[in-house]
Amino acid sequence: MTYTSYLYFFGFAIVVYLVYLACPMKQKWKVLFAGSCLFSMILDGFLAVCLLVTSLAAFFCGKQLTKLQDKFNAAKKGLSKDEKKQLKAEITKKKKAVVAAGTIISLGSLIVLKYTSFFLGLFNSVSEIFGGIQLPLLYYALPLGISYYTLQAIGYVVDTYRGKYRAETNAAKLILFVSFFPQMTEGPIGRYDKLMPQLVEGHRYSNENFTSGVTLIFWGLFKKLVISDRASYMVSEVFGNYTKYGSIVVFVATVMYTIQLYTDFSGCIDIMSGTARVFGIKLESNFRQPFFSKSVGEFWRRWHITLGTWFKDYVFYPVSLSSPFMKLSKASAGHMSKFMASIVPSACALFVVWLGTGLWHGASMKYVIYGLYYFLIMLLGTIFEPAFVKMSAKLNINRKGKTMSTLAVLRTMLLVNIGMTMFRADGIGEYGAVISRIFQPINIYDITSGTLFALGTDRHDFLVIVIGVAIMYLVAIMKEKGKDILTLVSTGRIYIKWPVMMGLIVAVLVFGAYGPGYGVVENIYAQF
């Protein structure tokens, strides 16, 4: 059952919604809990078991952490400063052990299920060099969404450790937080303090929530079925047989893949956010017009936002503030220029983050290189920033002017396109071959012969994609200017609301790539 299937909408989401509306306010969260449990069992029984283990581990760790904190708060009264310090150190040590246990259980199952074959493969490669033993590779079935709900559960445990909030006292509620069905398989990765109150408070039917939710669902379906799935046919053909095609075709396929990836992922997030909105629940934003970014760093602050902020809060900051990194910071200050000394420690922490981000996407060297590619671009950007500033001043170039800003946006798009091509290629070797194919001499015959339109995505498909992207672009421009068209439509007057909503629904029904002749295209990000 995918988020774009009839079964999901008509056999599941609508049924859960009707039961949710029929239930008394205080019982509504139980409908979401039962619906999420059922959804996970329909998807995969193994997923349901993994979700339960992760949720319960987080629940018991959270409870223990709050208990330890309460113990400290009660015992510290009347103690001297030194005694308080000593007690705090003891309690912190115990709390750290609890966090470690919780993280090992959650992350451990992710590592075993997702990365066993990768690490065994690495071991075999090293062992082969020294003539050592070769271990058999072990592949496990990966539960859908494991990479998302694991991070969500770890975030909860760490925040409880940090004292951001008290632990949840009801196990069923925490299971709901970890497994809320709209965000179970692709995120967005939620935070307990923002999501949990919305899940348990119960919401009555609201016209505004219903129309804005349905509009968002159809906007997501438009991106996914009208644009992404149409683009996928050409992308599959060219990436599967790139040696057959010339530079123009391969380049168009790489651009098409970036469009496919964005519309697939952001489309699915819109469908999920729209579903949650109908229930009166607002999920975290995962995208903020990423293709308006002037730098790769900015792109990653606008793309898959909840993953970026998760890595920032739970990896980058703790690693950067750890004592080895603070020591490195001090050592750098003594041996390097002020500028370099300020960059080296955070660059080292950033390396850890991007290695993790790459590996999060998949268990192969391709994803490691994918993460490090973005790390390198950002690092070079930071190192050369003072030189760029000086050069611009010398040449009297206004870097914030319209021309330079547009060029910066185009440069970012190109760099991202190169990165996303790596994402799509089957391996590093294939990636190199695809990129080198782009730099072959241009053969105008690729265009005049009509090859471009005979690769599964015909002239009609291309036209639909171009118009679809143009509409998306206009909506994004308005959003950049602070006008969210989708919200305006859903809350606007009836003579604006209904024609636009109907137009969107008709566009999905008429131009969506579904039904006879179209295969189901799996959501790309659900595979992580």
Binding site: R162, R301, L321, M326, K338, I343, S346
Partner: protein
């Protein structure tokens, strides 16, 4: 405060730190700059800044950063 403004200017030159009130929200201070700043603050003021303190409200303006330092010094 003057000492803090000097540190801020070294970490991120060319910003009017006396006037800016959305240093984090507007992207002037990104996570890398915040870490550079935290290292300098820890060094200059002998304070321990933990990940819990790294929220936009504590870094959106020079005044907020100053208040954070003063709070941690106490």
């Amino acid at each position: 405060m003057e000492e803090l403004l000097e540190i801020l200017s070294e970490v991120k030159p060319g910003v009017d730190f006396e006037k800016e009130t959305e240093l984090v929200d507007s992207g002037i201070l990104d996570s890398m700059a915040i870490i550079q700043l935290v290292a300098r603050l820890a060094d200059e003021y002998d304070v321990e800044i933990t990940p819990v303190d790294l929220v936009p409200e504590n870094f959106n303006s020079a005044e907020a950063i100053y208040a954070l330092v003063k709070r941690l010094e106490d």
